[in-house]
Amino acid sequence: MEKMISTQKLCKTFSSGGVLQHILKNLDLEIYEGDFTVIMGPSGAGKSTLLYALSGMDKPSLGKIYFRDEEISDYSDDRLAVFRRHHCGFVFQQIYLQDNMSVMDNILSAGLLVSRKKKEVVQRAQELLSLVAMKEELYHKFPAQLSGGEAQRAGIVRALINQPDILFADEPTGQLNSYASKAVLDVLTALNKDGQSIVMVTHDVLSARRANRILYLQDGAIYGECDLGDYVPNDEKRHDRLTAFLKEMGW
């Protein structure tokens, strides 16, 4: 499998009131193409910080980050924004759809930032919307009229409209009920099956089950790693392995 993102001694330090807080410490890791990688760990371990550093939303304090063979850690802010637009898709816990725009407009506005061919963008949006099982009557509704699950699926479509190399998800099911969570996770699983690389931060074991590789973060360093293999629904053995791994990590 080919390396997509790798880091060398990645460190992130925040200063609060003159006290330095080292959130990430000398992190060496690799994310591979086509993987559904999940980052787990206790609260405050630095999961989200790591995700933002990997995706170029935030710059590391020390260390290097490579996307494919390009070092992105020393990019300027502008260059990073362009990089993100072309290579990364983001799904957040608080979805962040524009309230005054319909679902379709939300998606198209993201797509048209990159491509000028409106017809193509619209067509891709429709394909993706049907892929995430979004009913057509919802296309022109406003975010406030959607359920949590529907909004998050719209968020996923927006993240994918520019055909990103990698999709970053930060607790995408954190605000959803179990039924909506399952629907969103099913979408992510299906996307990954079609070759979409995904990195997801979660502290929900049900979400973590979908991954084929789990990185366990503790005190700002990779504490353990587990290779689960491809997701198979209702696979007891796979689930036991995951549980054993998390137990070993002190979850």
């Binding site: 001694k9 330090t13 080292h22 410490k25 020390l62 290097k64």
Partner: protein, 423 residues
Amino acid sequence: MKLKFILFLFIGLLLIEGIVGWKVIEKIKDTSLDNVMVNDLSQQIGQQWETLMQTQLCTVSSNIDLDFTLLDNNGKKIYTTSPSVSQSIEAAIQNRDSIIDIELNDQRVGKILIYNDSNSRIASHLVFLMQILGGTLIIEGIILGGYTYYLNKRMIQPFRSLQRFATRVAGGDLDFPLEMDRHNNFGVFTESFDLMRTELKKARLNEQKANQSKKELVAKMSHDIKTPIASIKAILELMLIKVKDPKERGQLLIIDQKANQIDELVSDLFHATLEELQELTIFVKEHSSQELATLLQSADYQNKAVIDPVPDCLLLFDALRLQQVFDNLFGNAYKYANTSMEVHFEIVEEEFLIFIKDFGEGVTAEEQSLIFNKYYRAKNAEEKSGAGLGLYICRYIMMQMNGTIECEKTEDGFMMQLALKLA
């Protein structure tokens, strides 16, 4: 008192045993028959013989208290006093009875078998002896057992505890007193041992205090020496501005150099003493590796080193102390090698390595392990000033930061290798 009584009782019992034994043996030995009684008996029987033979009456009147059997010449039993005594010559011989002929008118007419009762007498004496001996032996056993218990409790146990005490004291444990029982002589004896322990403890504490105050004095003095030196240096600086004569300037510069030297030596002394006082505190914290560049540049005040870019990572060290280590290493390089220098970095697994290299002579391989020892000075350092403390302190600081310091002679120079831990 009690002991004496018990001893007398014991001896008394032994005497009783001896006397009883002797008496019994005397009695057993006395198995001979009373000759007079036997003669009387044979005479009486001789006198009665005729009547006996004629009447065939089986009675013999006799006033003599002996058991006997009367036989005629043919060995036929005529009379017996008791059926349990020997009834024939053969039985009499077996029982070692006395056999006496009865003579009447110079003719032998029969025999008297006088029963020998010594066997039963011995047996009854023996039973008596056994009873006495058994009784006294039991009492003696009780006395002996009690005395052994007493000895164990009063002598052997205290000796054992004294032995344990001595072992503890020898091992340096002076805090536990010796348990003792002052009610006996031995307790008083052990008390003097415990006195020895307390005195020893006092002496040891005094020694520690003396040592401590000596070190504190050195630390304080070395600090005090620095103040006048600072004044000397300040005045020198002023004079160097004013004085223009090159010769005088040269002399002033020498004074400055020597003042610096004293300053360095005093610093080393100060730190070595502090370390002994365990007051050279080191606070290890997470630092960015980029801080190393600043530390190294500040140490390299003569700008002789080419310092590689520092690889990014988070390290564990105490910046103040690490600066001290770098100052020392660069100071050594200036003093002994005085060549250009190179600084390289490398990350190997969990360690961050710093290589500080010069192109001087270095020290020989045999000395490489020794130069970190206290007061050790390499052979090539003889004509240079120094106390042999610098690298010793460096190693102490590095070890406190969980790091290491090593040296190595390379083809073209000498290299110090420092290792720090990644955060």
